[in-house]
């Protein structure tokens, strides 16, 4: 591998903070979820790169990324179920409208 490890880490840092940016500017709940997926993905890249470049004989980062993918799938399915339920109740998935769920 002749690409330095710094370049991979900078790429994942950029991806993570683009996700943060999207989480701040968006107001639709599904787009918020997509921004969170971007952040999770960037963190997975970090785990895999550290594993591959620094400890290539073990699989710690590899399995952490694998389990993070599985947990992301579970989290997305529950989040989508909640979003669809909220849409049925108040006919909108804008995060500002969901403040009506208080009390």
């Amino acid at each position: 591998m002749d690409v330095p490890v710094h370049f991979f880490l900078m790429l994942s840092a950029a991806m993570f903070f683009i996700g943060v940016f999207g989480f701040i500017i968006r107001r639709n709940m599904i787009t918020l979820l997509m921004a969170v997926e971007l952040m999770l993905n960037a963190v997975n890249i970090n785990f895999v790169v550290f594993n591959r470049f620094l400890y290539p004989d073990y699989f710690e980062g590899f399995f952490f990324a694998l389990f993070a993918i599985a947990i992301a799938a579970a989290e997305t399915s529950v989040a989508i179920a909640i979003i669809i339920n909220v849409y049925r109740k108040i006919r909108s998935i804008e995060a500002d409208d969901v403040a009506e769920m208080k009390h």
Binding site: D2, V3, M10
Partner: protein, 205 residues
């Protein structure tokens, strides 16, 4: 104060030039070209995912970003992880997101552009975080890893179901219970209730 900033800047410049020297850009190889292409797709796809005003297009750009990430795993010679990324992320999660988009919003609906103060706040927050991270990254010296052969699938399988120090059979089982709980939870949450539903006007159209 000025001296601190000056020494910081020189340290930064030295580290950056060292990193680029170790990249050896005068001698391009296939892996460098592929990395640059994947990085371009990832950056462009991420930016368009969070800025596109049509939600289905945002999902499509997210799909390309996840595909390029799988390519990055392939470049690092983790074929199994790339396959998992493709099937679970690009295949599973994206399909669920697209279905929920089609269930909850009109296909021709366009978002209003976000207010300027919110964009500015997002840029400041994300930009300062990114700047800080990249400064720390550039100043960090990573140990020079030895060139290890790519792990084969047998090693991965033995570690995944191993019970020794580097075995992962317990997290594997815990994940399976978590997935079962999530499945039941998602069904319970998304199930249609028997009561008549609220009949408010549709705000997304």
């Amino acid at each position: 104060m000025m001296e601190t900033i000056q020494s910081f800047m020189t340290a930064m410049m030295n580290s950056v030039s060292e990193i680029f020297a170790s990249a050896d850009l005068t001698r391009p190889t296939w892996s460098k070209w592929i990395f640059m292409a994947l990085a371009g797709v990832i950056l462009l796809g991420s930016v368009l995912t969070v800025t596109s005003r049509r939600i289905l297009r945002a999902a499509t750009f997210l799909f390309f970003t996840l595909l390029a990430t799988a390519g990055l795993y392939l470049l690092l010679e983790y074929e199994f992880l790339a396959a998992v990324q493709l099937t679970v992320y690009a295949g599973g999660i994206l399909v669920v997101i697209v279905f929920s988009i089609l269930l909850t919003s009109h296909i021709s609906y366009r978002f209003d552009p976000p207010p300027v103060w919110r964009v500015l706040g997002g840029l400041v927050a994300a930009g300062s975080g990114l700047l800080l991270t990249i400064c720390v990254l550039v100043l960090t010296v990573f140990p020079k890893g030895v060139a290890a052969p790519a792990p084969d699938m047998q090693q991965v399988g033995n570690a995944l179901l191993g019970q020794d120090v580097h075995g992962y059979v317990l997290p594997f089982e815990v994940i399976s219970i978590l997935l079962l709980a999530c499945m039941i939870g998602a069904i319970v949450v998304a199930r249609k209730s028997r009561e008549p539903e609220a009949s408010q006007p549709d705000k997304t159209e």
